[in-house]
Structure formats: structure tokens, C-alpha cells
């Protein structure tokens, strides 16, 4: 744990050193209004770019959240193989995995996974 913390700090130091170097050595120029406006194809941006986006992205994020929680419950399955009897391990793990699979098929049936509706 201490070593990992050490690695963390070394990686932070190296990456901030690089950005510091590039900030120090980069060419300095005067920024005019045209240059600091966000990039658009040849014209000035008219309205704000933080527009409402498609609900599909949000739905995918919700489905991902469910599956990620299920995976984090499944993860210890690899560790306990030697400590409990194999048949019990298969029953418990398989039952939970069956629920996950049925959940996926239910999402599929409810058209949550269709990108174009």
C-alpha cells in the first residue's frame, strides 16, 4: 500500500512536470478574439454548445451501472474457489449469473439496448 502511494506520487510528479515544461517552453503569442473562440467550421459560434443530448446515452449509462454492480458482486467468485465445496460454489455463482443473464434478456426485450428506435 505504501509502495502504491509512492508510485502514485511519482506518476503525478512526472505528468505535472511535463505539462509544466510545455507551459514554460511554449511560444507566447497575443490571443485575439478570433483565436480564443471555440472551433467551428469557418464561422463564429452563435449559440452555446452545451445542448441537450440524446436520451440513449443516459439509458446506456444506467444499464452500465446495473451491470457494473453485478460484476463487482461476481468478482470474488474467482477467489473463493478453493475455500468452499465446488458444488456449492457452482450453485451460488451459477444462480447469480443466471439472474444477470435473464436481466440482460429482459433489457433486450424492453428495447433499452436498441440504439435506433
Amino acid at each position: 500500500m505504501k509502495l502504491l502511494l509512492l508510485n502514485f506520487f511519482i506518476a503525478v510528479i512526472i505528468s505535472s512536470l511535463l505539462i509544466l515544461l510545455s507551459t514554460l517552453f511554449s511560444k507566447k503569442t497575443i490571443l485575439d478574439r478570433e483565436k480564443v473562440s471555440p472551433f467551428e467550421c469557418g464561422f463564429d459560434p452563435k449559440n452555446t454548445s452545451r445542448i441537450p443530448f440524446s436520451i440513449r446515452f443516459f439509458l446506456i449509462a444506467i444499464v452500465f451501472l446495473i451491470f457494473d454492480i453485478e460484476i463487482s458482486i461476481l468478482l470474488p467468485l474467482g477467489l473463493i474457489t478453493n475455500s468452499i465445496p465446488p458444488i456449492l460454489w457452482m450453485t451460488a455463482g451459477g444462480l447469480f449469473l443466471l439472474l444477470v443473464t435473464l436481466g440482460l434478456y429482459y433489457e433486450w426485450k424492453e428495447n433499452t439496448l436498441e440504439w435506433i428506435t
Partner: protein, 308 residues
């Protein structure tokens, strides 16, 4: 302690140098795939090209857009680069740098953090192209992360350990690619999507989004994003080798890593970009059910092995 610090810094320096030469390799491979020569002027037949590129990138003018959320915009490349460096601390080497018992837990944790710099870089630059690129990248990365974790889980169930050293030792007598050949293919596809490489590079999408989430970046910020992405390629290739093609950590190990890196570049030269809705249905409707059913199968194998 001091030795470990020196070792880690040395490892990071080597990673950075190999990233520099990876960019040269990519340009050369793409060049010869398209029947031209690639960079061949700087140094002896282009060998010094990456260094001149680096000097040029770091001395260019740093611009920012006046409407961006500046702190987030400035620090998200730093975070991305930091993460790809931090992930290297789990790698097993012959010198026995780290005895990481839960290496793959660490891998999954840090890999799922990889969504944040993409999302924040896309949102905070406050440009329409960057926002769209960021949204696409986030949806794609999180969808493929589910199948990535499940594939990893079925490897882990067979081995019964989370440590990367144990994976290497377990494959002393035979490679996992023969036992897991379909899952290995799924792992390669998921890795390509996770790294935003070319059949699935919707985060960049030059033909539609100019440059995707990094439109507004220049000079140092862009260099850090680029370095982070390429060091992720090397890391993912190393993880691929450890998962299903590694028996030892000697010279051949690094040859295999080189082969997988070249495979990634080769796929970029060969395949056209996929369609976004097809990508999402590939993730959720074919890869995810397939990996779930494979997990059932390998659990059954494990029980059979245990009982016998």
C-alpha cells in the same frame, strides 16, 4: 525503498521512450500499408522523427478557448497521462518489482477511471465537436468495459488467482489462447474499443467530428493526451500477452508484446470505421450475452476440474 523509486522512474522513462518509437512505428507501418514510405528524413531513415515531433509539440503555442472551463480543461490531459503511467505499476517483471496479489482488481479499477478524462475533456472545452466526441467516447468505453470485466472474470475463475505473476506461471505448459480462443478474440475486440482505436475510433472520428474530444487542445495538452493514449496501447498489448500468450517473462515475452502492438496498428491500416449504432449493438447484443454464456461454461469446467 530508494531502489524501488529508481526502478519505477526507470520503468516510466522506458515506457515514454517506447511510446515515442511507437508513434514512429505506427507512421511507418501505415505508410507501407498504403504503399508509401512514411517519415524518412530526420536522422537515419527517420529514426529521430519522434524526438523532433516531441520538441515541436512542446514548444508550440498553447491556445485555449475563452468559454472553456479552464481548470478542468487544463488538467484532464494531465489526469489521462497520469492514469496510463500509474497502471504500469501492476506489471510483473523478471526483477520482481512488485508482488501485486490483486493486480487485476487494480487494473479494472484504474481502467474504469479512464472514462473521466475523456468526458471532462469533451465537456469542458465547450465546443460542439468536442462535446459530441466526448459523449460518444463515454458511451462506447463504458459499454465495452462490462464485457472486458466479464471476459477477465472467466480467465480468473480458471486460474483462481488475481495476480498477474500467477497468470504467467499458470501458462508454463500451454497457452490460454488454445483453451480460450473465442474469448481471446472478444478480449482483443473489447480492448480496441476500450482504447478508442481505429475500427472503433468514434471519440476522434476525423470525418465527422474534426478531431472529436481533443479539438480544442494544442501543444502540451494535446501531447499529453496523445502520450496517454499510446502508452495505453502498449499496456493493453502487454495485458493481452499476459492473459493468453505468456509462459515466461524473458525475451520472447517482449516479442509477443511487439506482435500485438503491430496487430493494433495493422488493424488501423486495414479496417474502415464501424457505424455507431452497430458498435453499440455489437457490445450489448452479441459480445455481452456471449461472454455471459462463456462464463457459465468455464465455471462448469472449473467444477469438473475440482471434482476430478
Amino acid at each position: 525503498m530508494v531502489m524501488l523509486i529508481i526502478y519505477y522512474i526507470l520503468l516510466l522513462v522506458c515506457v515514454l521512450i517506447s511510446v515515442a518509437f511507437l508513434t514512429l512505428l505506427e507512421r511507418k507501418v501505415l505508410g507501407y500499408i498504403q504503399i508509401r514510405k512514411g517519415p524518412n528524413k530526420v536522422g537515419i531513415s527517420g529514426i529521430l522523427q519522434p524526438f523532433s515531433d516531441a520538441i515541436k509539440l512542446f514548444t508550440k503555442e498553447q491556445t485555449w478557448s475563452s468559454v472553456s472551463n479552464y481548470l478542468l480543461y487544463f488538467f484532464s490531459p494531465v489526469f489521462m497521462f497520469f492514469m496510463s503511467l500509474f497502471l504500469w505499476s501492476m506489471m510483473p517483471f523478471m526483477t520482481g518489482f512488485f508482488d501485486f496479489e490483486f493486480g487485476f482488481f487494480f487494473f479494472l479499477c484504474v481502467l474504469s477511471l479512464g472514462v473521466y478524462p475523456l468526458m471532462i475533456a469533451g465537456w469542458s472545452s465547450n465546443s460542439k465537436y468536442a462535446l459530441l466526441g466526448g459523449l460518444r467516447a463515454v458511451a462506447q468505453t463504458i459499454s465495452y468495459e462490462v464485457s472486458l470485466a466479464l471476459v477477465l472474470l472467466s480467465f480468473i475463475i480458471v486460474v483462481g488467482e488475481y495476480s498477474l505473476e500467477d497468470f504467467v506461471e499458470y501458462q508454463n505448459s500451454f497457452y490460454f489462447i488454445f483453451f480460450f480462443y473465442l474469448l481471446s478474440l472478444v478480449w482483443i475486440v473489447s480492448c480496441m474499443a476500450e482504447m478508442n482505436r481505429t475500427p472503433f475510433d468514434f471519440a476522434e472520428g476525423e470525418s465527422e467530428l474534426v478531431s472529436g474530444f481533443n479539438v480544442e487542445y494544442s501543444a502540451g495538452g494535446f501531447a499529453l493526451l496523445f502520450l496517454g493514449e499510446y502508452s495505453m496501447i502498449i499496456l493493453m498489448s502487454t495485458v493481452m500477452v499476459i492473459l493468453f500468450l505468456s509462459g515466461d517473462l524473458y525475451f520472447t515475452f517482449f516479442l509477443k508484446v511487439g506482435f500485438f502492438i503491430t496487430l493494433v496498428l495493422w488493424l488501423r491500416g486495414t479496417l474502415p470505421r464501424y457505424r455507431y449504432d452497430k458498435l453499440m449493438s455489437l457490445a450489448w447484443k452479441s459480445i455481452l450475452p456471449f461472454t455471459l454464456h462463456c462464463l457459465f461454461m468455464y465455471m462448469g469446467f472449473k467444477v469438473v476440474f475440482e471434482v476430478i
